[in-house]
Symmetry: C2
Subunit: 99 residues, 2 copies
């Protein structure tokens, strides 16, 4: 399981968020992704490795290329993680009440 650290760090970079955005329309190869960004292919490749370490994407070989696919599992866990911060513990006397 990916650590929250890895996930938030991965999401902290705008290029990586753009890559994820791009992958919403379906799996793409490293080269396909790279050519839509001004950065060098090697740079994109490293971004992809970061996303994979964070388990935000999965890979699968398809003939001569490798397809990157968005994995929503970790997104869901992250959202749940964030949701736990929403409501105060409500044990403290200065916790605000819902109206």
């Amino acid at each position: 399981m990916a650590s929250p650290d890895a996930v938030f760090k991965a999401l902290a970079d705008p290029t990586r968020r753009e890559i994820l955005r791009l992958l919403r329309s379906g799996p793409k190869s490293s080269g396909d992704i790279a050519e839509r960004f001004p950065s060098a292919w090697a740079t994109i490749s490293r971004h992809l490795a970061v996303l994979r370490d964070a388990e935000l994407v999965t890979t699968e070989r398809n003939g001569s290329s490798i397809l990157y696919e968005i994995d929503t599992t970790v997104f869901q866990e992250t959202v749940e993680h964030l949701l736990t911060w929403f409501q105060p513990t409500s044990r403290g006397s200065n916790a605000k009440r819902r109206s």
Copy 2:
């Protein structure tokens, strides 16, 4: 409005996430927060500044001290931001269909 960049970067540090966790039980002063962490007060102070820049906390002076309070607004926006990544755009021919 805080940028997603600032928000995710702020959340990427475990100490800052711990601080937010602590603030769930109610507003606390910089000193109160600092004494629960092994890091120096100045270090915690900088973490608090990062959280404030990301608009994850708000501050309010209370007598001789400054109270930090968690602000759930940006959390909500962030969750919504993440939710938009959940479902594929479903416009692409290789987007998976829901079963």
